[in-house]
Symmetry: none
Subunit: 209 residues, 4 copies
């Protein structure tokens, strides 16, 4: 949905009003937290942002696309403000992963991030185009950081040499996301810790040699 139909003449990004763009992104985040995704309307975003509806439709194809951009901006801000210095690598893989997964748990429990996240997940579930952008722009960069750390660990000899790194990343992130999304049980730091241990060590009984 990031592309427009070929017959529609694209607007000129150089003439874009950045003040309006920011106001729209801010308003969409505020509103999605206030009223939820289902009751979020483009009219309300425009009104809250003090902007004409057409200014939104000119630059985004749907409210979900607005939220995606807003979330990207939010993620950038979070990285900047949070003093993010890269995925931790203390040499202790389990500890590093627990640190990051605990932070992810906290983020999932922080309604400021949760509302747009749920909105994008919902929208992406039934909109392949949006889902692709969501995954590509927001998720993949984060997953890549995990993968990088895991690769370092593998080369350092802490992981099985034939391990599938993307799979491993999803073994960490998947259960956490699943529990968050389905609400099967509360998301806690203990859950994150246990998950890391079990992913690394497996659940089978270890037979003594």
């Amino acid at each position: 949905m990031s592309s427009r139909s070929p017959d529609a003449k694209a607007p000129d990004p150089a003439r874009r009003n950045d003040r309006s763009r920011r106001a729209i992104l801010d308003a969409s985040l505020t509103l999605v937290a206030e009223v939820g995704y289902n009751k979020l309307t483009i009219e309300a975003i425009a009104a809250r942002a003090g902007v004409g509806k057409q200014t939104i439709y000119r630059w985004w194809p749907s409210k979900a696309a607005v939220l995606l951009d807003a979330s990207l901006a939010l993620a950038d801000d979070a990285k900047t403000e949070g003093g993010w210095t890269g995925f931790p690598d203390t040499g202790d893989l389990a500890a590093d992963l627990k640190l990051v997964l605990r932070a992810t748990v906290d983020q999932f429990n922080d309604e400021k991030y949760e509302a747009p996240m749920r909105a994008l997940t919902a929208a992406g579930a039934t909109d392949p185009d949006l889902s692709a952008r969501f995954t590509e722009q927001l998720l993949k960069p984060q997953l890549a950081l995990y993968e990088e750390r895991l690769r370092a660990a593998r080369e350092a000899g802490g992981l099985a040499p034939d391990v599938d790194l993307p799979l491993t990343v999803e073994m960490l992130v998947g259960p956490l996301t699943y529990r968050w999304l389905m609400g099967t049980a509360p998301l806690t730091h203990a859950f994150a810790d246990e998950l890391v241990d079990r992913v690394l060590g497996g659940v089978s009984k270890v037979t003594e040699g």
Copy 2:
């Protein structure tokens, strides 16, 4: 969502027209596959089912609730028609899990099941009430089957005695669902197999004794 406000006179379930009920559930499944969840409307369901709108509003609070009931019926049918005889227990845990996870992969890839599944996931992501019913009525019973099989394995000595069974279930189901939902990579049997092996054995390098 399933309950009504106390002042609204509840309809008498005994007088319910089962022919209409089935027609509505069928129509909702057909339509969600045809036009997708976002463009699914109660008016269209009513028209397709040859039913008045009020007949839908009388028994369900939202289109998502209709779809949930339709999916429950679908799951029942699948179990019956598929000759389901309970979660397999051949004694070989890995083999049993792979069998089931492969079937789940197939189901995720079958658009007949995928459309309502995505719809419910989307709806549940932003509607806690529906999410609760979805989890409780559709998901939990399935997860319980995994858990039961894992408990048997633990008692048989194949799993670590202190393993957290719900966590383990989510380690199996979570990554699979994550990949399905986010589209990070194709869902294949190989993925299911590898996942089972890694969940059981862990991803760490096995140090020789």
Copy 3:
């Protein structure tokens, strides 16, 4: 414009809410007098009438069509309330015509009637369908009354036997309407009187026998 496109299923007039219908007609007359035809909007009519927009669109194709129906109702009311007892026929044609034309002048000068009249004239000027309905339903019945009176006069020997009655009617109504519409000069009773005299007697110098 009174007919709908054949593929659109027509609403059932029997189920029409007459309260809403009246409210819409009243609101359109009030509003056109308040803000003028150009600033008259269907949204405002709906709001003022306490009615959904769709209820207007369901029964009328345009705001002009609403105004036409409103004017027809207004004309009916005026006839009823004004104690109208038919076109006067005292035997004195000139006097009768002056009476009626003076009343028409008064009506043109009464803003209650003028606003919708100007609106319909404006709309009809560029919309042949509407113009046809306007002429047929509102104008023709009035012109027919003139014609009837003139026919009586012709048969009574007061008019030339070969006179063209519709032409004569338009010689009376045309100049009056022209002056009203173009604003070339004020519309007064004196104008009406003089017009009647000149139509009957002509403008040429009468040569003595």
Copy 4:
């Protein structure tokens, strides 16, 4: 409408681009004939004329004002191209009037002139400012020609000495315009002829001396 608010700095007419001015007037005439007055937009005129919207707003207050100027130019062209040599005066008033009214009938029936004429009539009907300009600049000069001819006739003794000239002009032009605008009957040369005869001679039975 032709004047601007005092705080707005007036543009310098000396620097006006006449190429653009003509293009705008031409485009407005073309478009009003193509799509009708209601669907005529300033944006479309600008696009068709290859001109910025602001260039229109700089010089005209409304699309109707553009059309009025375009019609004035059109009338000038018609007069020039038509080899107009002044209102005819052969001494035979009836013949002269018939000649001119027939030409007016032809003009009303020529869609090239009809479209802008209907547009201006419609716009003028609900916009007093425009109506005044329309009457003053386009209509009055034409009516003055009739009046002049009638004055000559009166002085020559062909008309009653106490006849009201503007009234007489409107007795000629009014019925014709009325029939054109309301569509009560077709506009023909015969109609023009008969009208002239009846205006001059009246419709009453002539009593023998």
